[in-house]
Symmetry: C2
């Protein structure tokens, strides 16, 4: 059975889980707490980061962007990267934007400070980072709303990896109750559509010891 | 004419310049100082980062990894990403490792602190970051040496984007004189081979006002 080494509240792992689910590729999820520095895991991925996919034939694929490019080449149906060169540029551009800019401005400052710092025993959240994260979240969700209003899905007419990358970050922030949906009607409508896909269901059942998501987290109608 | 918005000492821009050169795709390089926040550039790339490629047909391609995937699909010869699924995983794994782990542990701490902080007027280098960068550079160059000794090129039997990603970071650090080649014979032998390729020549002629690279920087026999 295909194995995915992951952590439930990692947006990069969630992006891969959504991609595997949408492509109907069964896998066994194994939770890895990278901060415990297990030597067996370091041998699997010298970068010591999740996610890492291990295929039935033994092929080890680390890094969420490498995994998603691999899955698209190995299992092209359904296509999640776009068909034309221009479509593929736009999907990859948005994935890179969420995984670097959105991550730097919002996810790392809120989820990183409030969850991963505590889990890995690196102390209390930094107040400056939290303030910056809360200031950045609104314009960045506005951007999602603008894209969703101008197009059917974030990168164009069809569901793509861009929606999964965005929803992966958004769902982690929603888990810790950091999104005020009342102020984001367009982003909310888009997120409700992604959330209602079958591939999303396992993410809504994620639980992390000592943390409870808000009641609306798993509701499809929130 | 194809345009590349870039900055000479950005490893991400250098990776793209090497790729364009190896594929013999002519381009006009335009230097962009992103910290000047030009509105025209922000409209071109909302992430406000270099590199950005603009094709003759008007297609705008931002982000070095998006550009390299695009170039490989639009101009597949010579192939720089590997042929089999496993080869492509290994090339992309190494590119991701250099552009995230090596960048975080070394490039950002040395080049970021000594060059980009000064250029963008953000003050003096942080002593702790410099010490960490110098401590990390040796094991990371050892890793390049191990790969180069076990294989012909970093990702396997043929030159690939992994070599260009690695050489892009290494060449920027070499420009600021931060690499002690006497301690890295295997990495040095690999770097000499990459450096002698025609696509590398423009990088050796880069100059940044107020900064002089060491004399051996542009020598093919160093």
């Amino acid at each position: 059975m295909r194995i995915l080494h992951h952590f439930p509240l990692s947006p990069y792992c969630r992006k891969v889980r959504l991609t595997l689910g949408e492509k109907r590729l069964p896998f066994e999820p194994l939770t890895e707490r990278v901060w415990e520095n297990r030597p067996e895991f370091a041998r699997l991925n010298p970068a010591q980061e999740v996610p890492v996919l291990v295929e039935d034939n033994g092929l080890v694929v680390p890094d969420s962007s490498v995994i998603c490019e691999y899955l698209e080449e190995a299992y092209p149906d359904p296509c999640l990267l776009g068909r034309t060169l221009a479509e593929r540029v736009e999907v990859r551009r948005l994935v890179a934007w969420f995984d670097s800019v959105f991550a730097r401005d919002v996810t790392r400052k809120l989820l990183g400070e409030k969850v991963f710092k505590r889990l890995s025993g690196r102390g209390n959240p930094d107040g400056t980072a939290l303030r910056e994260g809360y200031a950045n979240i609104r314009p960045h969700l506005d951007y999602i709303g603008q894209l969703a209003e101008a197009r059917t899905w974030l990168a164009g007419g069809t569901l793509s990896l861009a929606d999964f990358a965005a929803a992966a970050h958004v769902s982690c922030l929603d888990f810790i109750g950091d999104i005020d949906w009342s102020k984001q009607p367009a982003a909310r409508e888009w997120y409700a559509r992604v959330k209602s896909r079958p591939c999303f269901r396992p993410l809504l059942n994620d639980r992390v010891p000592g943390m409870n998501p808000p009641e609306y987290y798993a509701n499809l109608d929130f």
